[in-house]
């Protein structure tokens, strides 16, 4: 079957999708967006978290056919989304930026390769990334939290990240990163 939906602001068509395919598979294997990770496959670890019509979901539990005509944002689209809502997209590592450089399509407003959403930069600055496997899901969840709550309490942060498991960091640096992103958001305002 064919599934037409919007991914990170662009309309996409996925052809030859089989009926039992998950959204996660479509994103990773058909759309070339491997940021969302495939781990527990049962909605517990949160490493496949994406936003579907603005709300966070586990893409491993969503049937591909269920996203027909809907809007998906993955970790790859966070920087663009941050730009669109007026937040700063910050510069990433210069070397990576140089390696990933490519000409922008005519008229495109997308963030440049290497540019990061504030939450991504905060994760780097706070040292919240260890092996990195859970990081995309945490970023999407944390970004969604900060969009609806610019001054989250620690309880708010814990609640928002409650469906994302990290086996490396012990979570403290991750909490620091979200606090940092929230503080920087306040500075911008």
């Amino acid at each position: 079957m064919r599934v037409t939906f919007t991914v990170n602001g662009r309309e996409q068509e996925a052809d030859d999708v089989w009926e039992g395919e998950s959204l996660l598979y479509v994103l990773r294997e058909r759309m070339g967006l491997p940021g969302s990770k495939n781990a527990c496959e049962q909605g517990e670890c949160g490493s496949c978290t994406v936003r579907l019509d603005d709300v966070p979901v586990c893409s491993c539990l969503v049937a591909a056919g269920q996203v027909q005509g809907r809007e998906v944002v993955t970790v790859e689209g966070l920087a663009d989304q941050a730009r669109e809502r007026g937040g700063r997209a910050t510069d990433g590592t210069t070397l990576d930026q140089a390696k990933g450089w490519q000409a922008k399509p005519h008229g495109a407003q997308a963030a440049q390769p290497g540019q990061l959403a504030p939450i991504q930069q905060a994760f780097i600055d706070a040292g919240a990334v260890q092996c990195g496997f859970c990081t995309p899901g945490l970023l999407v969840a944390a970004d969604e939290l900060l969009e609806r709550n610019s001054s989250p309490t620690d309880a708010d942060i814990r609640e928002a990240l409650s469906g994302n498991l990290c086996r490396c960091t012990g979570y403290e640096k991750i909490l620091d990163a979200v606090r940092l992103a929230a503080a920087r958001q306040d500075e911008v305002v």
Binding site: S22, V55, L61, S162
Partner: protein, 278 residues
């Protein structure tokens, strides 16, 4: 996870003949969470367009496709004191994060018919009546407490689907008390007990779920004494009838249930605390 045996997806509006290997697709959070080698065709309810929540003169109609998140956000009309905090308490009894609430449906949880299904607990405790639709258009209605007949078992016939659950106004106007216990904090419920005190007629209803394979309801015309409630529970759930799985031994579930029942009885037989008097 991907369901490799599924070869077709159908729109539920087409009402096609039911075949072996068919399954209704609501939110999909259960179907896609574990292998389903017996499923060949998904019948998608997503296009049915049912209003998630409708406030009517008879009460609250919850569509089977209403997501847990939508139910949790429901703002109750004045006087429906049973809604808050009971709805949120039951939503938080899922062994799942709020992300799952965004896709998981009330109907899906009820139709899974698991003892620990918190939407079963909620709707059974609030006298929910399930409306079932047959493929030939036939409609039947029965209490949610009778819809679930055992662990994973329910009264649905071939091709029949749960359309909605109606919570009657009188139940929504009741005072409720909630207790839930599990082996670890935020774990799967081993016992989930809800009490309901109807201010209109003074009756008291206790609904036991999770610790029994199917909902157990006890109704009293007036709040019972502690010994009366305990005796009624022991009679309704005899030894050997408590649920047994890895999430709790039957003896422990019995202990929790009896304790919770007495706490609820005590809570609902004391005068409610007026706002500002806490």
């Amino acid at each position: 996870m991907d369901l490799g045996t599924v070869t077709q997806m159908r729109d539920a509006r087409r009402r096609e003949q039911w075949r072996p290997g068919d399954a209704y697709l609501g939110g999909g959070t259960y179907l896609f969470s574990e292998p389903q080698p017996h499923i060949r065709r998904l019948v998608d309810l997503g296009s049915m367009g049912w209003e998630p929540l409708e406030v009517t003169p008879d009460g609250l109609v919850i569509a089977a496709t209403c997501t847990v998140a939508q139910l949790n956000r429901f703002t109750a009309p004045p006087g429906w004191q049973a809604c808050h905090p009971l709805i949120e308490q039951c939503c938080r009894s899922f062994l799942a994060s709020f992300k799952i609430w965004n896709m998981a449906t009330v109907g899906g949880n009820i139709c899974n018919a698991l003892p620990a299904g918190p939407m079963i607990s909620l709707t059974a405790a609030l006298e929910g009546e399930a409306t079932l639709l047959a493929l030939d258009g036939g409609v039947r209605r029965l209490p949610v407490a009778e819809f679930v007949t055992g662990n994973g078992r329910k009264v649905l016939r071939e091709g029949e689907l749960l359309r909605s659950v109606t919570l009657p106004t009188y139940a929504l106007r009741s005072r409720t008390a909630f207790r839930q216990g599990s082996l670890h904090r935020l774990g799967r419920s081993a016992a989930l007990v809800i009490g309901r005190h109807d201010p209109a007629d003074g009756s008291f209803t206790l609904t036991v779920t999770a610790s029994t394979p199917r909902p157990v309801r006890l109704w009293f015309p007036l709040p019972p004494a502690a010994a009366q409630l305990r005796a009624a529970l022991e009679q309704a759930v005899p030894p050997g009838a408590w649920f047994d799985d890895i999430y709790g031994l039957p003896e422990w579930r019995r202990h929790l249930t009896l304790r919770f029942a007495e706490e609820i009885r005590a809570e609902l037989t004391t005068a409610p605390v007026a706002p500002g008097e806490e």
